[in-house]
């Protein structure tokens, strides 16, 4: 009677493998035991072939669970891949078997690998006229029509081979197995130049304007044989003009007592295992159904060798043809019956069926039927996830007992069973029509005649009856969500607590929130809620469908955006020198800037504190140089250039003379400091504006915004030249003599080349613009050359061996000693120039500039505004942490503790011989001389408030 193989041969025995199954034998290990499967198996089909019923255990109750489905809707069979590389939370139904696979069943949760994933993951952008999701009958038909008309088509399907439902049902087309038709069509389409057929590709999300995200699993199925340089998974970012969703349906189950016991399985899944995987999911089965579809499954399984003990149909009038076919095979059909109990230790051993309590005159008795398999069909639910994500509405189809696609504003439509079309012939025609409409929508011409293959005649369907649960006095094992261990009892507790929305019930019970996102349970939960409340499922609606459709690994989403490619690393023309010199780098936005240069030599390397003190001393007492190329630079050209700058800076720029330089501050209209930098007047109608390193793009955008949207009448153009120039800052009392040697043609004396002026010169044989500006208070120059020559200039500066290279940390110390703020460090978008002690830079003469009006607001003149001040820790060796808060009491009061402000910059100063800090302190300038306290850990560190200018307040050093 059974076709079961009785072959022997150690681990190669697969007792539930159908005879005639061919393919290479693959070895694998599950829960510590060796098994064999066949090429083409999933882990689930291979386990079933070996008679493994309990695959996992449930998350809350620890109940044994078996394979329930045959695809990505699987709610139960969660496994962890252990080898070749640990991967958590996969469904055994979607793991393709490979030689050497080692996996374990999971109790609901997996474990992340404890080491980095060595595999490569990447992403790609794609564009098409028509994207077809799902390579079942409707999808292939749609893709075929579109592709043969010359459209750019992408056909994506989550399974390893095309065919969709045809794989499981083994229906024929044009007299041949549907699977062969699908394979042939997919191959023919893939050969067309404008067509891409993506297998093993799950469309995860459907976003605005037909932006669709899919993940292709390219080498997962190869296990350890996967080539290392081929991306294991690939994220497809697809922009499609039209989308056809041919996503088919999921079978759902019914809530009855013990519906989670291993051996209970969806009827359609069992059919797939028998037909497609050549595996018998059991020996003797009871079938429990609400509709005709389970009859086809029962008959296929019977033909394959599973004894069908009985079919319990909730209806009194199943499809007559099906009943007749069952009679031919001697299969008993119990109409008006339900399953009332499932018995067995760890797996099904018998099934109790009984007439429905409300069924009058059915005449039947409750019976216990020995069986190791219980096949369930509660009807089929169209897969509307993507349609709903795309913003489509759903409507309830009474006949189907499920929600189907309604309206959408996006260029997307569903086809085939995804929109409730029932028969194979209709699905093929519907797919072809969808393909034709998609062509028209994409502006292409559809062929007049479309051939679809001939499908078998299907028996006339009898209406399904939408039974959601089998009524009982105890709902404790009537599961609605197997993965979350949610039973009817819990749903009733939710509705009993007054919850009447499916969204609320979902959150209260967690039904539908597991890895399967309620593919088999969502509608069932709604049905049970409707039943409990006595309302229509249609009124209740569904919970929201959200991406991703199936779980996706973080590795795939990260793709190549990890490690060095995680974010752009911007470097200057001098970078290779800094690296060679052993600099440590600081991230400033995307830039890598030399932070400090530890002294090279014998013994252990210099630490940061020693290096910075040394670099500071060189800049203050000798001569030092820094790569300042990262400063933003904008060329501002036009007859109204000066007008624009007068409006954007707080101070006057139009009075600047050609050849001179002025420092300026920009504010937002709310009066808060936005950026600062120097402005160089190159000609009457031409300025070069510098910005902070981090704000270069923002300032250019700011200028463009005002010019384009508010002042289009101004004749000004702005062009970024940040990377056109490499800039070397030469700093220190001896900088003049070094420059004089490098630029023999340049008159460097103070009268010829005064502070805040610039000169063209040849420096080290390179055409240069030299600016006399200082961000340290010392005599200093900034030498600008074409960035092609940046390295040559720097090497020339360094060639004498006298000039100490310094990094950003030293720059920070030097500027902080002088009280020069860094926008973004000492300011945070709530600080005015006045707060910084820079009233002098706010013009009183100009009628208006951006921010001016806000300086007359009451808020900007509050006496308790935070001012930038200096702080000297009473212990000159104590370095305050940046961000430390400040209080004026020597003991902390009960929380909440009012804070007076916080430390923005804190350093050790070689020049001051002690530590110091800058801080924003409420009414700070009025507190100079006061003692405040910084809570640091358990201590209160006493500090004295001082002026923010701590070094050379007279500015005596800038001329050397």
């Amino acid at each position: 009677m059974s076709e079961r193989s009785e072959r022997t041969g150690g681990a190669a025995v697969q007792p539930y493998r159908r005879e005639g199954a061919t393919g290479k034998t693959l070895r694998f290990r599950f829960d510590g035991r060796e098994y064999a499967g066949l090429e083409g198996d999933t882990l689930a089909s291979a386990l079933l072939a070996n008679g493994v019923r309990a695959v996992a255990s449930s998350i809350k109750l620890g109940r044994p669970r078996g394979v329930y489905a045959a695809g990505s809707e699987e709610p139960n069979a969660l496994v962890q891949i252990e080898e070749p590389f640990p991967e958590p939370m996969l469904t055994a139904t979607t793991v393709e078997l490979y030689d050497g696979l080692v996996a374990t069943g999971l109790p609901g949760q997996g474990r992340l690998a404890d080491r980095p994933d060595p595999a490569r993951y990447d992403a790609v952008h794609a564009h098409c006229d028509v994207l077809v999701v799902g390579a079942g009958p409707a999808g292939i038909a749609a893709a075929g029509v579109a592709a043969r008309a010359g459209a750019r088509v992408i056909l994506a399907d989550e399974r390893p081979e095309p065919g969709g439902s045809l794989l499981g049902t083994a229906e024929t087309l044009d007299g041949a197995p549907g699977r062969e038709w699908a394979a042939g069509e997919a191959a023919a389409l893939a050969a067309l130049p404008e067509v891409r057929v993506l297998r093993r590709t799950t469309v995860l999300g459907h976003y605005d304007d037909n932006y669709v995200i899919a993940v292709e699993r390219r080498t997962n199925h190869l296990g350890a044989q996967a080539p290392a340089d081929v991306a294991r998974e690939r994220v497809w970012r697809i922009r499609a003009r039209r989308v056809v969703l041919a996503t088919g349906g999921h079978e759902r189950f019914v809530a009855f007592a013990g519906n989670d016991l291993p051996g209970v399985m969806l009827a359609g899944a069992a059919r797939t295992y028998a037909n497609h995987y050549r595996v018998l999911p059991g020996s003797r089965a009871v079938v429990f159904t609400t509709n005709d579809s389970a009859y086809a499954a029962a008959l296929d399984l019977a033909r394959a060798g599973v004894e069908i003990a009985a079919i319990a149909d909730v209806r009194h009038a199943p499809g007559e043809t099906w009943v007749a076919r069952c009679a031919e095979r001697g299969i008993e059909v119990l109409t008006g019956h339900v399953v009332t109990a499932v018995k067995g230790e760890g797996e099904v051993s018998s099934v109790e069926v009984a007439p429905r309590p409300e069924a009058q005159g059915s005449g039947g008795q409750a019976r216990e039927i020995p069986a190791d398999l219980l096949l369930v069909s509660g009807g089929w639910t169209p897969v509307v996830h993507l349609f709903s994500q795309a913003g489509g509405t759903l409507r309830y189809d009474e006949e189907l007992g499920a929600f189907t696609p309604g309206e959408t504003r996006q260029a997307v439509e569903a086809a085939g069973f995804a929109r409730g079309v029932r028969t194979l012939r209709e699905c093929l025609e519907d797919g072809a029509e969808a393909g034709r409409r998609a062509l028209a929508g994409a502006g292409l011409t559809a062929p007049p005649e479309i051939d679809v293959p001939a499908a078998e005649e299907e028996p006339a369907a009898a209406p399904a009856e939408h039974v959601w649960l089998v009524e009982s006095g105890d709902y404790g094992t009537h599961f609605v969500d197997l993965q979350r261990d949610v039973t009817v009892a819990e749903v009733l507790r939710a509705t009993g607590a007054g919850l009447s929305s499916v969204e609320h019930v979902k959150r209260y019970t967690t039904a539908g929130t597991a890895h399967d996102q309620g593919k088999t349970s969502g509608l069932l939960t709604g049905g049970v809620v409707a039943h409990a409340l006595g309302v229509d499922v249609a009124e209740l609606g569904t919970t929201t469908f959200r991406a991703p459709y199936t779980p996706v690994s973080f590795a795939a989403l990260a793709g190549r955006d990890r490690g060095p490619l995680h974010d752009p690393v911007r470097v200057t023309a001098l970078h290779e020198w800094h690296v060679a010199r052993g600099a440590l780098f600081e991230n400033v936005g995307q830039w890598k800037r030399p932070w400090y240069y530890p002294q090279q030599g014998e013994g252990p390397g210099e630490d940061m504190e020693a290096a910075v003190l040394r670099e500071c001393r060189a800049a203050r007492e000798d001569v030092a140089a820094m790569d300042a190329s990262t400063l933003g630079k904008i060329d501002v050209v036009g007859p109204d250039a000066a007008v624009l700058l007068d409006r954007l800076y707080t101070n006057m720029m139009s009075t600047l003379k050609v050849g001179s330089i002025r420092y300026g501050v920009m504010c937002r209209p709310d009066g808060m400091v936005f950026d600062d930098g120097t402005v160089i007047r190159l000609a009457d109608d031409r300025f070069l504006v510098t910005t902070t390193t981090g704000n270069a793009a923002a300032v250019l955008d700011w200028m463009e915004e005002w010019l384009q949207t508010e002042w289009p009448d101004l004749r000004v153009h702005c062009t970024s030249v940040t990377e056109q120039w490499a800039t070397v800052a030469l700093v220190g009392p001896r900088s003049r003599e070094v420059l004089a040697r490098l630029a023999p043609g340049l008159a460097v004396d103070n009268d010829s080349f005064p502070f805040m002026t610039w000169r063209d010169a040849e420096v080290a044989g390179i055409e240069a613009r030299v600016c006399r500006i200082s961000f340290s208070g010392e005599l200093a120059y900034e030498i600008n050359v074409s960035s092609w020559y940046g390295l040559a200039l720097w090497e020339a500066v360094m060639a004498s061996g006298e000039v100490t290279p310094y990094g950003t940390e030293t720059m920070h110390v030097l500027r902080a000693e002088k009280g020069f703020p860094i926008v973004g460090q000492d300011t945070d978008g709530t600080v005015t120039p006045q707060d910084l002690g820079m009233e002098w830079i706010v013009s009183k003469k100009k009628a208006d500039f951006v921010g001016k009006r806000s300086f007359a607001r009451a808020d900007t003149s509050r006496p308790d505004r935070k001012h930038l001040v200096g702080l000297l820790p009473e212990d000159p060796g104590v370095l305050l942490p940046e961000g430390a808060h400040l209080v004026d009491t020597s003991a902390l009061p009960e929380p909440p503790v009012p804070t007076l402000g916080f430390v923005t910059s804190s350093y050790r100063s070689a020049a001051l011989g002690r530590t110091f800090a800058l801080a924003l302190v409420s009414g700070g300038r009025e507190r100079i001389g006061e003692r405040l306290y910084a809570p640091v850990g358990a201590d209160l560190v006493p500090v004295t408030v001082t002026s923010h200018v701590l070094y050379d307040p007279e500015g005596a050093r800038r001329d050397g």
Binding site: Y207, D208, D209, Y211, R239, G391, R409, P669, D670, D701, E704, E705, Q708, T709, E710, P712, A847, D848, K852, R853, S854, A856, R857, A858
Partner: protein, 92 residues
């Protein structure tokens, strides 16, 4: 990810654009003449409708031009785009 029709470059991915908030909020002619309340209204107050909204976008990663769009904030549908300085089109 929206596909935003830049009036110059045509449809481009949303990631190439920067959002600029409500359109047609002009910088006041004479800020000094405004009361604190009027100035605060300019600085801090913007509409937030459900439905059609005229807003500013800049094609920052492309042609760097500012333009206006009328977008339905409930559906994300962009009904019209028009260049800076042009009046808001009437959407039926």
């Amino acid at each position: 990810m929206l596909l935003i029709p830049c009036p110059w470059c045509g449809p481009r991915d949303e990631a190439e654009f920067h959002y600029g908030g409500q359109a047609h909020v002009a910088y006041p002619e004479d800020p000094a003449a405004l009361s604190d309340e009027e100035w605060a209204r300019y600085l801090f107050f913007r509409d937030n409708p459900k439905g059609l909204f005229a807003e500013r976008w800049s094609h920052t990663a492309g042609c760097r031009r500012w333009f206006n769009a009328v977008r339905d904030t409930a559906t994300n549908e962009i009904h019209a785009v028009y260049r800076a300085g042009e009046p808001r089109p009437v959407i039926a």
